[in-house]
């Protein structure tokens, strides 16, 4: 695969919070939200990012689009460095990347109509204006299952799921090269969700857009993604192609995750065996030594507490960070 086709290159990115001590010395510990991760995404690829709540997925997403400064590492979008870029440069880079935010309620300007919100990228990038803009916005609204006449409404007049769709429409408006989707469909009912997923796939087929897809819904992940990355406490613990991943999950955390997926069938779901993770939940402020997962891992041995496993390539091409898997 030639370098040129990489839409996104992340190298050893680490993001820390706190440490330099708030305002009144309420220092607290340093939260190592993202702790040295490396990932490439090629054109037309969808990579899923899954992991425990609070493991750093949103932080990584924010870092990719330059909303969060990493303490180390490099992020390149279309070959251009994001880290340390000035306003103008960032603004150029952002032509190529968009983001669907996790909190739709907070990421919509309460004083702009959603038409204005969705139209904004089109206006500022000079794509459309006037009547054409109105039509384009109308079309986008329709694509996400809303109505053109909703354009005059304000965010607070929508339901949660409707707001989420507005955010999606905004991100897709420019047909960027890369879309970071932070839980894009979690608030949608299954039928609308299907519609949005279809839209994402269709767009990908048409424009070759790549997605970094943060989701907790493994069904959705399986449907839409080419590759899956599992994150645990700021690090990647498993990276594998979809089929490999679902056929043969390797990391114990991944296995636990898989076993917890609820089935949409009461008979099956209520009789299912689940792999319950025991042990203390570690905090990102005090990441356990060695393998961060060893405190909860059913396979853990003495070495796990001592040495941190690196991501190593396995036979089927999956890369896993575990001493025992």
């Amino acid at each position: 695969m030639s370098e040129q086709k990489h839409v996104l290159e992340i190298r050893d990115v680490a993001v820390h919070f706190g440490g330099n001590g708030g305002l009144f010395g309420k220092t607290g510990a340093v939260v190592k939200a993202v702790n040295g991760v490396t990932l490439d995404i090629v054109r037309g690829e969808t990579v899923a990012l899954v992991g425990e709540s609070g493991c750093g997925k949103s932080t990584l997403s924010n870092t990719i689009v330059g909303l969060q400064q990493p303490v180390a590492g490099s992020v390149k979008i279309g070959g251009e460095e994001v880290v340390g870029a000035d306003r103008k440069k960032l603004n150029d880079i952002r032509r190529k990347v968009q983001m669907i935010f996790q909190d739709p309620a907070l990421s919509l300007d309460p004083r702009s109509t959603i038409g204005a919100t969705i139209g904004e990228p089109l206006i500022v990038r000079g794509v459309a204006k006037g009547k054409a803009l109105k039509e384009r916005v109308g079309a986008l609204l329709q694509q996400v299952g809303l109505r053109p006449e909703h354009a005059d409404r304000y965010p607070h007049q929508f339901s949660g799921g409707q707001r989420q769709r507005v955010v999606i429409a905004r991100a897709l408006a420019l047909e960027p090269d890369l879309v970071i989707c932070d839980e894009p469909v979690s608030a949608l009912d299954v039928s609308v969700r299907a519609q949005i997923l279809n839209l994402l796939v269709a767009l990908q087929k048409r424009t070759g857009v790549s997605y970094l897809f943060v989701s907790h819904d493994l069904g959705v992940v399986r449907h839409i993604c080419d590759r899956v990355v599992v994150m645990y406490l700021g690090r990647f613990v498993e990276i594998a192609d979809r089929d490999t991943f679902f056929a043969n999950p390797k990391h114990p955390y991944t296995k636990a995750l898989m076993s917890a997926v609820p089935e949409a069938d009461p008979e099956v779901q209520r009789s299912k065996e689940r792999l319950i993770l025991g042990g203390e939940l570690p905090s990102p402020a005090m990441i356990p030594s060695g393998c961060a997962f060893h405190t909860r891992c059913p396979l853990a041995t003495e070495i796990c507490g001592r040495e941190r496993p690196e991501l190593t390539v396995r036979d089927d091409g999956a890369r896993v960070a575990c001493h025992h898997a």
Binding site: G21, G22, L23, F24, H156
Partner: protein, 306 residues
């Protein structure tokens, strides 16, 4: 944090220095006090002589350097009018100014903020109407008028309060009200609007859902979220109250800095003006630094420096 504080301090010193320089230059530019000091029948030659004696015939930069030289030694110079150290003159007024400003702040904040809260939470009620009337009155009655009206009503007619003076608590009441009225209105309206801005937010509903009364939601959550503009106004008003009390002080014969400032400006008592300006800019810069810190304290998302 510490580096920020140090940086901010350096900036503050530069700002104060800037103020002093501007005021110095501009004051001298507008003429010197000699003409005001001499008797009307003084001859041109005598005036020149006195001007020379007082040193106002030196080039401006020489006077400025002399002044700075004095400042370094904490010598603020002598009043040409009163012939005593300028700093003593100003300092003798400071307690009065603080008393009056304090009284006015009590009026402004003590009435303004609760009134603002009431107006925001009781929208459409009779209480809101009454408070609105009071607030608008506070905003539209000039101080020179309200002062004398207060005197006529409460001192001359009712004889409840002393007409003027600066001795005791009783004589502080009317000046504080007259001075604080306008700020009170600003506080009330600012509080009201900020709270209304917040009341529509989801966390208010969430607060009520966990069983808090509207009042507790307001006092525990909304106020803090609505605080920033109110704090800004407070910082502005404190500076304002210190320096802006000219009329109130004149009407109530209150010997504060405002009155002294206007007299000194009018009599071109340069060094006294400089000390006053130094004091005001000190207080103002201090409150503005404080405000910036309080912003970050109130809203942890605000970073002091980027």
């Amino acid at each position: 944090m510490l580096t920020y504080a140090v940086q901010r301090l350096i900036q503050a010193v530069i700002a104060i220095f800037g103020v002093l320089t501007i005021v110095f230059v501009v004051m001298h530019f507008s003429g010197d006090p000699t003409l005001l000091l001499v008797p009307p029948d003084a001859s041109a030659q005598m005036i020149t002589e006195l001007r020379h004696q007082l040193g106002f015939d030196q080039p401006l930069w020489v006077q400025y350097l002399n002044y700075l030289g004095g400042l370094i030694r904490f010598d603020f110079g002598q009043s040409v009018v009163q012939r005593i150290p300028a700093i003593d003159i100003v300092m003798s007024r400071v307690p009065y100014t603080m008393m009056l400003a304090g009284g006015a702040i009590v009026v402004a904040v003590g009435i303004g903020i609760p009134a603002g809260i009431m107006m925001a939470t009781r929208r459409g009620g009779w209480l809101e109407r009454v408070l609105t009337a009071i607030v608008v009155t506070g905003q539209s009655v000039p101080t020179f008028l309200s002062g004398i009206l207060l005197i006529f009503v409460f001192a001359v007619t009712l004889r409840w309060l002393p007409t003027s003076g600066s001795g005791d608590f009783a004589s502080l009441i009317m000046p504080s009200v007259a001075l604080g009225a306008l700020s009170m209105s600003t506080f009330a309206r600012m509080t009201r609007i900020s709270i209304i801005d917040e009341l529509g937010k989801d966390y208010v509903r969430a607060g009520r859902a966990r069983g808090l009364s509207m009042g507790s939601v307001v006092t525990r959550h909304v106020l803090r979220n609505a605080a920033i503009p109110v704090i800004t106004i407070a910082a502005l008003e404190i500076g304002n109250l210190l320096a802006g009390a000219v009329i109130v002080e004149t009407v109530f014969a209150w010997p504060g800095i405002g009155q002294l400032a206007i007299q000194s400006i009018q009599s071109r008592d340069f060094l006294v003006v400089q000390v006053i300006v130094l004091l005001i800019s000190f207080v103002y810069v201090l409150t503005s630094v404080a405000a910036d810190f309080v912003y970050a304290l109130v809203d942890p998302r605000i970073r002091l420096a980027r």
